[in-house]
């Protein structure tokens, strides 16, 4: 199990970036294989626009899993989303760029986002991200599909794809499923692939959480 890595992009030179990445990956190929990564643009010097599609492919080429992207301007985020990145909440508070908006109403705001409820099968190639909250799926999550949440993930059906809870670092996030057949399970970046999941949990109703920084599976009766 490896923690989520963050790749800080300094400029738009993807060739140099690829070369640096290749060097690192060569040092520890096993470490990077299937490692979920977040791309962070907050330290990037302004300059020529980035080619996000190439960046996305680059990360995949090094067998890493592009979990999301954070820290860019709204324009950059839109372009990145087009290329397939999930847009994550910015890491540093105060980096939101919404200057022109009227001051927020003084009423106390709830601290959690409403739960995202999905009642259709999540099919291969689809990706669903519950930003800032929980994700509830009432239909199967199929092989090749990916579901992510900043909070907990509940799947009241077979979970056969990839499920990543607590993707912004919430180590208290949990994953629940009626039948565990997942390709990948991750909580706050600690992850396991299907072949490493305890065999006692296969096709069982399970609750998954982090215990001592490791994924812990409870089979529910």
């Amino acid at each position: 199990m490896f923690p989520l890595s963050v790749l800080y992009l300094m400029d738009a030179d993807l060739e140099a970036f690829a070369a640096q990445l290749a060097e690192r990956v060569e040092l520890a190929p096993q470490f990077f294989r299937n490692n979920p990564v977040i791309v962070d643009l907050s330290q990037r010097s302004a300059g020529s626009p980035l080619d996000y599609a190439t960046l996305y492919r680059l990360i995949k080429r090094f067998s890493m899993v592009p979990v999301g992207l954070r820290g860019g301007s709204e324009n950059e985020k839109a372009a990145a989303a087009q290329a397939g990145f999930n847009i994550l909440n910015d890491a540093k508070p105060g980096s939101e760029r919404k200057a022109a908006e009227p001051p927020p109403p003084p009423a106390p705001r709830p601290t959690v986002n409403p739960t995202l409820v999905v009642d259709q099968a999540v099919r291969s190639g689809h990706q669903i991200y519950a930003r800032g909250g929980d994700l509830v799926v009432l239909a199967p999550v199929n092989p090749g599909a990916e579901i992510l949440a900043d909070g907990n993930i509940h799947v009241y059906a077979p979970l056969r794809g990839r499920a990543l809870a607590g993707v912004s670092g919430n180590t208290n996030a949990r994953i629940f499923s009626d039948s565990l057949e997942a390709e990948l399970i991750s909580i706050a970046g600690r992850y396991q692939l299907s072949e490493d999941l305890p065999s006692s949990t296969t096709r069982k109703r399970v609750a998954i959480r982090l215990l001592d920084d490791k994924l812990h599976y409870d089979v529910l009766g």
């Binding site: 099968a121 099919r123 190639g125 199967p140 199929n142 092989p143 090749g144 599909a145």
Partner: protein, 271 residues
Amino acid sequence: MAKVIVVTSGKGGVGKTTTSAAISTGLALRGFKTVVIDFDVGLRNLDLIMGCERRVVYDFVNVIMGDANLNQALIKDKQLENLFILPASQTRDKDALTQEGVEKVLNELKASFDFIVCDSPAGIERGAHLAMYFADEAIVVTNPEVSSVRDSDRMLGLLSSKSRRAETGQSPVKEHLLLTRYSPERVERGEMLSVEDVQEILSIPLLGVIPESQAVLNASNSGRPVILDAESTAGQAYADAVARFLGENVDHRFLTAEKKGFLKRLFGSVA
């Protein structure tokens, strides 16, 4: 009201064109005025399977570009009064198909046909997208193997999010699963997924199971859609599928391996 049916799969070579030819012929045999369109620009072969390749003068792209009108491009089937083929262009490049152009042709066809069957190219790129975009119903052709099921699943996701029905909030595209090249013997030996395995993942209604059959190859070599070969298992299975498509209740056949001898006589066909 004319219905647009897309025959699609994601994965290549699973039997879309074979199915488009069989289903459109079957619908025409049932008395419906039917046209089948080849969306596989550059690789046309629907006309070969339908046995009309030597009568192609104008094609789908010609109509879209305004070089010919529909009546000039539509090829009337030799045997069936109410069956027509709109062939693909072999020479034009894929970008010749535009969304507006396809929509215009479909609207024109809707005025005089009961069913418009769209034979999709493989993949999920432009041609496949245009073939499914205007569909009212989809026949998702799947082979009993993991990669084909995965691609069909992907296609179903696109049908429910990227079709015009999905984008404009109409009732969803009606989905049908057609399992083709099914070999009960190989399923029993564990070399192929079973009907149940495939349905568990795709979870859409089963329109039919077409067995692996030499008759399909013979049919395409002679340019006679296999559904016209009433002796063959594949032809019968396609005829059943057409009946189910039209709402009839027909039991599934050819799901179990031929059991020879005593047991077979005792229990008959279990399927």
